[in-house]
Symmetry: C2
Subunit: 145 residues, 2 copies
DNA sequence: GATATTTAAGACTTAACAGGCTTTAATTAT
DNA sequence: ATAATTAAAGCCTGTTAAGTCTTAAATATC
């Protein structure tokens, strides 16, 4: 809906790294197992994240990946942008009209604009440290009977 | 974003029919030209809309398609549903977690729930008569110097 | 009834996404 | 040095969305 499956996996993996918060690198196989992500596929996604400097990779024994900077400095939109590519220069009309603007709006323009902005804000506002914390809370709830 | 390209074309075509508001059927080729939709592709989409009783098709000379009922009784979500298929039984978690609910929510759950509901409401609320009217207004604005 | 016109239907092509498999390169431990 | 381990990189496969092409069926006009 908001991003590709690859971006979804990327978010999960980054959250996992923020959760464990380990100074040592974490193996991709371990992340894949924890979130049930196809390992080879995640490996390729990780490469992209390394290239975009969201992850740092260490090869060889005791290798793995870790966050390239503190979790509270990494935001969802950065991850999505890195994996799915940059958002379109010009906003696309929601019903696909060639021309659609504030002054000559399509029927859904104003209503959609608000929603689109809400989505943008959500992805811009949420950082990995926050997300990891709330995932841990979720685990706590789920482990209670 | 909200629906497939096919559904987008379907919406455009249905709006066109609501705009012209003709008791006579309108040829698919004419609709395709008006909204710059690949004709054969639109023909196939139209078949789907006929099967879902949103359109009525008349074959042969002077044939074409027309709305199966008054424009103000056709809503966007019905079109999207017809073309893209029914929405999933269970809402998918926005970051792809296996289990995610109000009581054990993923980090984005509450925030996303509101947005998702806004989208649903938009598609449920807008009917073709309304949309056609606003498209006509748009045209008027665009034809002014 | 023959013909032209229009949708219906199905096979086919193309591109992108999701995922798998194998080899290479880097690094650590022995 | 050598072997083991781990990410990097490349190529291959399956699936789906998007779009094209061809033939069949229905219908109005002549």
């Amino acid at each position: 809906m908001l991003y590709s499956k690859s971006a979804e996996y990327a978010i999960q993996a980054m959250i996992y790294l923020a959760e464990t918060n380990s100074p040592e690198p974490v193996m991709i196989s371990q992340i894949a197992k924890a979130y049930n992500i196809p390992q080879q596929f995640l490996a390729k996604i990780a490469q992209t994240l390394v290239k975009h400097r969201l992850l740092v990779a260490i090869r060889g024994r005791n290798g793995g990946v870790k966050l390239a900077r503190p979790a509270n400095e990494i935001y969802l939109n950065q991850i999505v942008y890195a994996v799915d590519g940059p958002p379109p220069e010009q906003e696309q009309c929601v019903i696909g009209l060639d021309y659609c603007s504030d002054t000559a709006p399509c029927p859904l323009h104003h209503r959609w604009k608000i929603i689109r902005e809400d989505i943008r804000e959500m992805l811009v506002a949420e950082d990995l440290a926050d997300l990891a914390l709330r995932v841990l809370e979720k685990r706590k709830i789920m482990n209670e009977p």
